[in-house]
């Protein structure tokens, strides 16, 4: 069934995943790099700034979530990463592809080969008149080249993906014969059909109950671990943060804070999960503090900075 190439890729990816556990440095060997991305559009004659200089880096093989309230700009960012929208200004790069400079042809190839995505509405991810297997095969066919050659291989890969995601029994069913969770897992398989480097998901659990939602996150983790795909999940649900290693909060069109979860195994074998909240430091050196921190200390307009040996003190401006 599996070709040599498959094995090679999987092994390679696994090695990369193992080696890349640390926090990515800005821009260097990161898969997704966004620098001061700005996106402005017109809505009924009014200019809307959806992204106002957003900075984000995602390392290869990461599983991360973008959270934020609706209107924060997270969905716009996802559209940009999916190659469906173009930033107004800034820099955005995924792998070798510059998202601002691509022409239509390059953009088409980018969507075919570099990214795969899953949308919120379960019904919108799949064509209703095709079976699950056919839906998975479709992107391979749209890409035109069945990379490992022939429809047999494409079919085999489709079945393999469905098995990996635990929905092999649905292969000959049409979307309306499946449950929501099954549909969404098939949708993940569809997104992975062309072996993309990046898997994007927009509220993938939005229409599902929490139990099924947990299953979907399992699927994402499986994909991340087994195939080494970099996964970016957009959600408004802060609880999702508990499911992934890294969570970036987007506020007012900018990345605001970031939560990293580390699982440490103690000497006695118990696992402890430590969470650290970080503020984003952009390339120009700006930091945004969480609003509640500022309100708690009454910080306004100016703060006093003191450089210590291993940290920086930030104090409210002393009142006269």
């Amino acid at each position: 069934m599996s070709t040599g190439m498959d094995d090679l890729t999987l092994d390679e990816l696994r090695r990369q995943v193992a080696g890349d556990q640390g926090r990515p440095r800005f821009g260097q060997d990161a898969l997704i790099v966004c620098e001061r991305v700005v996106r402005i559009y017109q809505a009924e004659g009014v200019e809307v700034q959806a992204l106002q200089g957003l900075d984000l880096t995602v390392a290869k093989g990461e599983l991360m979530a973008l959270v934020g309230a609706s209107g924060s700009g997270k969905s716009t960012l996802l559209q940009i990463l999916a190659g469906l929208d173009v930033p107004t200004a800034g820099k955005a790069r995924v792998g070798e592809s510059d998202l601002l400079a691509m022409d239509a042809k390059a953009r088409l190839r980018y969507r075919r080969e570099v990214v795969g995505f899953v949308w919120q509405q379960t019904a919108r991810n799949l064509l209703p008149f095709l079976t699950a297997r056919q839906n998975v095969q479709l992107p391979m066919q749209l890409a035109g080249t069945h990379r490992s050659g022939g429809r047999r291989a494409a079919r085999a890969r489709a079945v393999e993906l469905l098995e990996l995601l635990g929905v092999a029994e649905c292969r000959d069913r049409r979307p309306h014969q499946m449950s929501g969770g099954q549909q969404q897992r098939v949708a993940i398989a569809v997104a992975l059909a062309n072996r993309p480097d990046v898997l994007l998901a927009d509220e993938p659990t939005g229409e599902l109950d929490s139990e099924t939602g947990a299953l979907i996150f399992d699927a994402f983790r499986t994909v991340n671990a087994e195939l080494g795909a970099t996964v970016v999940i957009v959600t408004h649900d802060p609880m999702v943060a508990g499911e992934v290693r890294r969570t970036v909060a987007v506020r007012d069109g900018r990345a605001a804070t970031e939560v990293l979860r580390r699982t440490a195994t103690e000497a006695d074998g118990t696992e402890t999960v430590t969470e650290h909240e970080y503020a984003m430091l952009d390339s120009a050196g700006r930091v945004q503090f969480p609003r509640q921190f500022l309100e708690a200390l009454g910080m306004e307009h100016r703060v006093e900075l003191l450089l210590e040996r291993d940290h920086i003190q930030v104090r409210p401006e002393e009142s006269q």
Binding site: E44, Q79, L84, R112, R124, F129, R155
Partner: protein, 948 residues
Amino acid sequence: MRSSVPWLWPRLRHRPAATVWTGVLVAALVFLTTALPLTLARYQDTALDTTLRQAPVTGRSVEASPPEGVGIGIVPGETAQTTVGPAGGAAMQAAMATAADQVEAQIGAPLRIDTSQVSWGIQAVQHAGNETGAAVSAPPGQSPGPAPDGVPPHLSVVWQPTGQLTLMTGRLPAAPAGAGAGSLEVAVSQATARTMGWHVGTRLLVPVPSVYRGQEQLTVVGTFRDPTAAESRLPYWAGASLLGAPSLYSIPAPGQTLHYWEAEVLVAPGAVRALPQIAPPEPYWWFPVASGSLNAGQVGPALDMLASLTNGDRASTLLTTDDPVSSGLTVQSDLTGLLTQFSAQRDALEPVVTIGVAGTAGTAAAVLLMVFGLATERRTAELALLRARGAGLRLLFGRLTVESAAATVPGALVGIGAALLLLPSRVWATALGYGLAVLLAATLAGPLRMLARHRGLRPARTDLRTDLVRARPSRRRTVVELFLLVLTVAAVVALRSRGLAPTGGGLDPLTAVAPVLLGLTGALLLVRCYPLPLRLAARPVTRRSGAVGFLGLARAGRGGATGSLLPLLALLLALTTTVFGATVLSGVTERRAALTTQLVGADVRVDAVGSGVPAQLATALQRLPGVRAGTGVLTDPLAQLGTGQTVVPLGLADPASYARVSASIGLGPFVPSLLTARTAGTGSAGAVPVLASPGAAAEIGSAPTTLTSLFGTMRIRLAGVLPSTPFTPGGDFVIAAQSPALAAVHWSSAAAATPSAVLLTGPVQSSAVKALIAASGAQSQVDVLDRSDAEASLDAQPLPSGAVSLYQAAALAATLLALLAVVLALLQAAPERAALLARLRTMGLRPRQGYALILTETLPMLLLAAVAGSALGAASVPLLGSAVDLGPLVGSLDGTAAVTHASPALQLLPVVLPAAVLLVLAVAVVLAEAAVIGRRQIGVQLRAGDEA
């Protein structure tokens, strides 16, 4: 295409109804398009065929003859350009046949001569004053034949080949002994023998216009069978029209018309040498055009060929040919006039037909656009997904085209096949081209429209309102609309300032485009204005407590643009076309009635041919069942006013009954007492009061004047002016009361008692009139004109009736297409509406309120379209009417193109009726939909709604 994922079948299976509907629609459109050139060619071909078949022999043949006064050397002694010498019968026959071949060789395509019916002969006809033929006398003791008014029968002599004759009695005539024998043997038809009282052995004497001999003696030696009715139309009989049967001729004489019989007798070929004794012999050749050989598309080339034959290359070839007989022959034909008139009428009809067809085409295009627009909207999500997943434009276009072709190709095949099978015609290749063009457009339009929508990658933003009320037209759209507006105004102004295109100028594209442009611009303006009445209507409704009105209007305003605007456009175009068409058609009907009234002057008119309508018959006619009013009129068409400078028809009638007829038919009603009022000084001294036409009244003046007629001279005075009158509806006239007028001239002739014409009004059966006349035995003395017969013959004119039925079909098709547009728009929104109704029903909406809601939602658009469409159609009548001439559509009775320009006039019924019908049908569809929705289970409904 190598495909691991099957596309076409799952796709078609997924929405079979959409595929079937598209196929049916395409089949209908392709059928209409393919049928158009077929129908045009068929009705024009039929019209030409009928015209030719009904034409006299001169109209369907080419005639060759030597120029007048020039002999051809067959007959000795005459001055000939070339002389073949004194020829015997056989030599002369051969020479005639050779000449026939020579001429026939010059007649080329597209004229095809019916070789078997080519006919020739030599005629000798005496002409003296108004009389044709030589007056016959008989040897003493014998009668020359009937002499109705004391004028003896006349005859002329003809030789034609005898191959077609069937001898009944006696033998065929033989050649005379010598050129100057003074005696000829002749044969006559049985009808001639019967009418004239001749038989084998009868001797007749005809005067010889020569100083040496007084008379030529003709001896009847045989009779031949009469031609049948069909045969008498063949050139052999029609070329020598009196050979088959004699005819009664008339010559005007002072105070009366004299009648005499005219016959034609056949002589032997050897007798041709003796013909100059009677009259100069005139050879002739008839070349009939084979029936059905000429189609409407060949009229131009046929005219070219005729021109060449009569006056061009081929004519000069004939003049210079070596053959001694045929050289010098000239060709003439009434076919030229017939074909010219045909093409003129056809060209005059073209703009009218084009307007109808263009309107239908516009409606069809709007419906097709709407179908594709709806399909695009339905598939937006699917296509966006495919694009996002990396489907290239080319691949997508290929798949969509294959998918669309799966519906359109079978539909188009059915449409084309049906059209070609039902309406076979010579222009099938053109028709096929039209059909295939529509197929191509229908197949590609859908995919192209969808691709245009999904060309960019950015999916359409869903948070913007695209509905009717809020939709903010883009700047580009405004510019396009302004451009269309300017174009429409320019087209209408150009059309009006130029008026009717010159006849024969061919199709004027502006004429075709103007109504469609008018409809389109109207629709665009309406779409711009549509939100305003909606908002106005919504305002008071919002304040009231009922929810239904508010909900309905809100939904009406928030319908998608494609679902509302294109049906609106289709409705407007269809209504504009239909209203304009209905106005034109009702104008045609009205004008035909007016034309026949002008022709007949009453519902039935019985004219005396000779002396007068017998008094008994006149009385009996007025007592026929159905007669509302009847009168007899004594007429003199050539009465002289005053000093005799002005000639005006005079009618003498009983004032009371004549006034009743006038009032009943609506031609110049008057009060009878005007004609009976006596002036001071009765008797011969008093002037007779008369009513006159405006023209005649101007001649009479206010003072009494004299009027000289058949009946004598009388003094008349003007009692009133009438616009027209039944006895001579077309022109000037003078009417007087019969008895005082005749008394004034002391007329006592018996003719005074028998009217020259009997006028009847009311639903009289023309068959009853004819039966009565037949019973009285006066068939030959009267002539019957029936208005309904005249109207029927106007309706039956091949070219106008074909155009009228084509126009009717176009209007009907446009109406059906508009209705289809409404139904499709309703069906598209049906699932969503059903879901809404179900949700509202869960909140306690009653079924009756459901009906009301659906109606308030859909009616604003329908009402507006109906009102605006009718208004546009009504506006198009004065705007475009000047470009449409009713004249050729009305047609004419005598075949001459009496084309007086007549524009259609605005009428209430044709304007209101189409919209009313459309509205009623549309409301019926809406109510049916509401009833279907109401029947379903709420649960099923809600789930179905979510799926959609």
